[in-house]
Symmetry: C2
Subunit: 727 residues, 2 copies
Amino acid sequence: MILLMSIFAMPLAMAQQQSSPDGNVVLTFSLKADGTPSYKVTYKNKAVINESTLGFKIREVLSSYLLKSDETPVYSEKSLPDDSKIKKIEPLTQNFKVVDTKKSTFKETWKPVWGEESEILNHYNELLVQLQQEKTHRKMNIRFRVYNEGVGFRYEFPSQKELTYFVIEEELSQFAMTGDHTAWWIPGDYDTQEYDYTESKLSEIRGLMKQAMSDNVSQFVFSPTGVQTSLMMKTKDGLYINLHEAALVNYSLMNLNLDDKTFVFQSWLTPDAQGAKGYLQAPCHSPWRTIMVSDDARKILASRLILNLNEPCAIADTSWIKPVKYVGVWWEMITGKNSWSYTNDLPAVDLNTVDYTKTKPNGTHGATNEEVRKYIDFAAKHGFDQVLVEGWNIGWEDWFGHKKDYVFDFITPYPDFDLKALNDYAHSKGVKLMMHHETSGSTRNYERHMKAAYELMNQYGYNAVKSGYVGDILPVGEHHYSQSTINHYLYAIKEAAKHKIMVNAHEAVRPTGICRTYPNMIGNESARGTEYEAFGGNKVFHTTILPFTRLQGGPMDYTPGIFETEIKYVNPNNNSQIRSTLARQLALYVTMYSPLQMAADLPENYEKHMDAFQFIKDVPVDWQKSVYLEAEPGRYITIARKDKHSNDWYVGCTAHEGGHTSELLLNFLDKGKKYEATIYADAKDANWKTNPKAYTITKQKVNAKTKLKLTAAQGGGYAIQIRKLEN
Amino acid sequence: MILLMSIFAMPLAMAQQQSSPDGNVVLTFSLKADGTPSYKVTYKNKAVINESTLGFKIREVLSSYLLKSDETPVYSEKSLPDDSKIKKIEPLTQNFKVVDTKKSTFKETWKPVWGEESEILNHYNELLVQLQQEKTHRKMNIRFRVYNEGVGFRYEFPSQKELTYFVIEEELSQFAMTGDHTAWWIPGDYDTQEYDYTESKLSEIRGLMKQAMSDNVSQFVFSPTGVQTSLMMKTKDGLYINLHEAALVNYSLMNLNLDDKTFVFQSWLTPDAQGAKGYLQAPCHSPWRTIMVSDDARKILASRLILNLNEPCAIADTSWIKPVKYVGVWWEMITGKNSWSYTNDLPAVDLNTVDYTKTKPNGTHGATNEEVRKYIDFAAKHGFDQVLVEGWNIGWEDWFGHKKDYVFDFITPYPDFDLKALNDYAHSKGVKLMMHHETSGSTRNYERHMKAAYELMNQYGYNAVKSGYVGDILPVGEHHYSQSTINHYLYAIKEAAKHKIMVNAHEAVRPTGICRTYPNMIGNESARGTEYEAFGGNKVFHTTILPFTRLQGGPMDYTPGIFETEIKYVNPNNNSQIRSTLARQLALYVTMYSPLQMAADLPENYEKHMDAFQFIKDVPVDWQKSVYLEAEPGRYITIARKDKHSNDWYVGCTAHEGGHTSELLLNFLDKGKKYEATIYADAKDANWKTNPKAYTITKQKVNAKTKLKLTAAQGGGYAIQIRKLEN
């Protein structure tokens, strides 16, 4: 009887709570009867996360795969450890006791180098639970931070002799949903995030997985119910829930695997070449696992929880980090009009021996002196900071898909690209060139050439690089999101910082707020960008979801601004059509926050619509304040932002297939002050499919009391510039 | 009938022969009836290699593991390609036709930067067979070079649209033995060569494998009949046969797997993390596969076949490459007397945060200012060029076995090692310090720090580095002998050459004559060296085999010269005993050719035997000429070498457990000239086990007609200095 008492009493005795500053979010930690750590989360007394267990399956580090001499020799053709031979150690799942708990409060305002607002409040209540496993005496702490918009927690392993080096077989963090929520999801994958979103009930994921799995040159889908974070959900009673992670450093990326009978998600880390999901050395900690929740979708967009869970800026002098608006020699290759490659003569390139001067130019090379000068002239004329040039360097003839180690050297231009002359020309016009480093996923090769490549940039005056990781990662067997590759991306960013270079990495891991710590990471792709509009199209509602998901971790180089919505006018062989109206293309400069924004279309296409192009010229890329006016995932997003360096505001709205009508009250404007609004809207008969380029531009005087009724067409949107008038 | 004719006639019609310049070695190439390429080798009309087939099993490069949309989705927890899903392509084994054959002769004398002789003759007859596969039209050439001492062949893939990028599943080169030869072998392994040799019949390998597999911190034995090259064999009728490879570049290492019913060896390459055995891009070629043969074992030692099959020197200015005789802070750690580490306070080191000044020194750290000065003084006093210091840099507390990525930074000294002061002190005495870079197999980490590490060496005046690869290779799943790791070793050598740095890489891949092309690679370990004498001992006959095997590919930093043969006098807790007499330790400076030779014992041990030590002081490390006086694998080796820079000769003899009596005719000396010989020999009652330190030193006048009768004790040997007298 006494025994029973103690077993049943323990979970209650061990339960610990912490609330958000506003009291709406309540986190409860408890130990189950068997000593398994668990937690749950409520919001305004509604369950958000049901009881969910925490822990790890781990194994020892093997220093050799051969059994020692007292056992039978192992002969194996596969260079993988034989699972049956691995010495098992007790998992970090149960038999824990609580050694101590600590509660604290933190409140601070910090100023990002760039961002959606110039000051960010970091305010949370913390609960630190110090656990020890009964027999093994291993220590594991769990730190919870409770914000008004949700909860972050991470595992921490103090320095201890009982647990120093260990291998993660799997992290066992559960996120138990309370029902069959609606989710906006993409397939869980070890190598790509470039999927279109599917909106469905959790119970429908399995049935929809196959059609959700579009092709990519590098991809690895691990489960029929596996999905990626940031995962956006909505409950039947109107709660918006978002699961993601923050501060992914020296750890592998987390996907989520759903048990679609119980609606419990479990963490599913990215393996390395031997299936191990991480090598840890105490003292250490996991990234933060984040649960955002609100009954107002706008608050999910407004939350800075993920940035706040990252470490403060690690770069002492950030004066060289500047937001960038740019054009580039890019869309002409994406659409298939021109090529990155210089010649069609070479079935394979050996950079050690290739001599391009002996090959016949293919006539389609985009990055020629002439073409680049055209973009420089255009950029200078219209006030853009930089011109991206892709395909400037040798090696593009066989650039991916071959597991080729030495695929680029990052320093040698093609014969028709005069590195010095073009930089001189650009600088003479007040424009910079933007460097491009495609790595083809060959990370060792990039690291070998990185210093010389960055030095070349310094020599010629480049201060920003777009890097790319198309194709499978080398070393073989590693994935885009393995611990070791995650480590590579951060290495590239830190080395770039030493050279005062800003990085915009494509096909790298999705961001998790790292830009707070390393603000020279001014962009990422890590999702399906505008380029897919030329590869068949993105779903119409795509841009109404990305700010809820991909953008939670940091800005995206989405490359909006495509005015010529029918690609066949660029390349007759490409029948793709942009699934957006022209007006919505303008709105994206506001709704898709990024300190790095491209005007992606060809200069000649802009020249046909210079009135609309004026918005792209005017829109800032850094903000003092952001107001989230309307938001519903998969339906519409309307955001107002105040320029960091003036009193002007900009508004953008993006809408799904069904269109959207807004009634905006401009009460974010200074009271009693006068403004002039320039409204770039879909024309009445506009829609993305049959009449995408029908737009209107109107001006009107507005103030803080003005109400605007505006309609976004099907797949449409609107953009507004609100200029403060001299009073 | 006509059909049958043509089928049977083809092999004969296609047979092509090429002979060695002296006519003794005959190579025959032929196509079998099914179009399979094959070859055989005879020596003085005796079969050496029976008909052996050639070819490859290959597959296409997969750019993604996910099946495309017309197939069922794949969900897999393992990041390995599912074999059943890999698109198979026809192997490069049969259905070949001979398109053309070309014969040529080459004869050239070249001068190595350093070596066993100052001029090397490269004389061979070549047969190039150009093959094309019937249906696939893929081209594959086989190039044979026939030398007086054997045959080298390699596969060549010309540039062609039918075969550009491909993956080797296995190379299928056979080496069909003619009988159950005696072999001196070590277990085939993907990660280590540090095994004691076993002498047995080929048929006995399987039964002896388990006991041959001693432990190593990184090892992977792949087959119960797998063995390593260079493999030395002897036939019943007295032919000596050696199988190895030359010019291993951008390819994985070859082991040999024996079919012990037919005595056919087949090539067995080292896999990568996914089991692939190499990624090739045409035009390209394999390394050379070498078959040395003679009826005189001395000719195997005298052969330069492997060096000759390598490319000429690729370094324009080699003036900075100099042979080195050195001492070092090393044996005291190997014996367990002192430690590489500085403190015992740290269960794990994080180089980002560690502060050694806050730890308690363990009192056993070897690389202290005081200890290093002692070695500098000793080196200066006795004319050594350099002093190796291991354990000078931070990180040794947890240096291997943890799959730790950032294990060393290669630039930060421990608090008790004053980098500048010690270099200044050494230089003031005409001595250099030798750098030490232990990588612990973490190749990416080494490459990240390599430039800074080499620059530090340049800054302080180091010109040689001993590097190490103890423990499993990172990236995980790669082996010490995978293609990508092979590529790393050469990268390190080439980058070192840019900084005029000589490299002596331990635990790296066994050499294959690469030092001809990159003579700054002045040493390697890649076998069981003297250190194992302190780890329990090497077999007594070890040094009578290594010159036939390991040394065929290049010099070894064997670190001989241990005078205190009972380790307990260095470290009372170590009961190991050197399995060699003291006199044999001297002989190894002659028999184990290397341009880099260490006097490995402690200064205090040398000081007890300064008379014997004189030989180590006198013996050169670079040679004009070498004469192989006596040789029998596993029994004895006696070599005479002429100093490159004088007219003096040095003789060394090493003997197995049975001892050896030599009757030497000194007819290699200049006729009619007078010399004085100083003979360092085992005393009459010496033997390695009970009386190893009993030696005699005698002097006598000798000339080209002198006959010397000398006896090496059990596990003994002798060394002779023969000084030319002024006439």
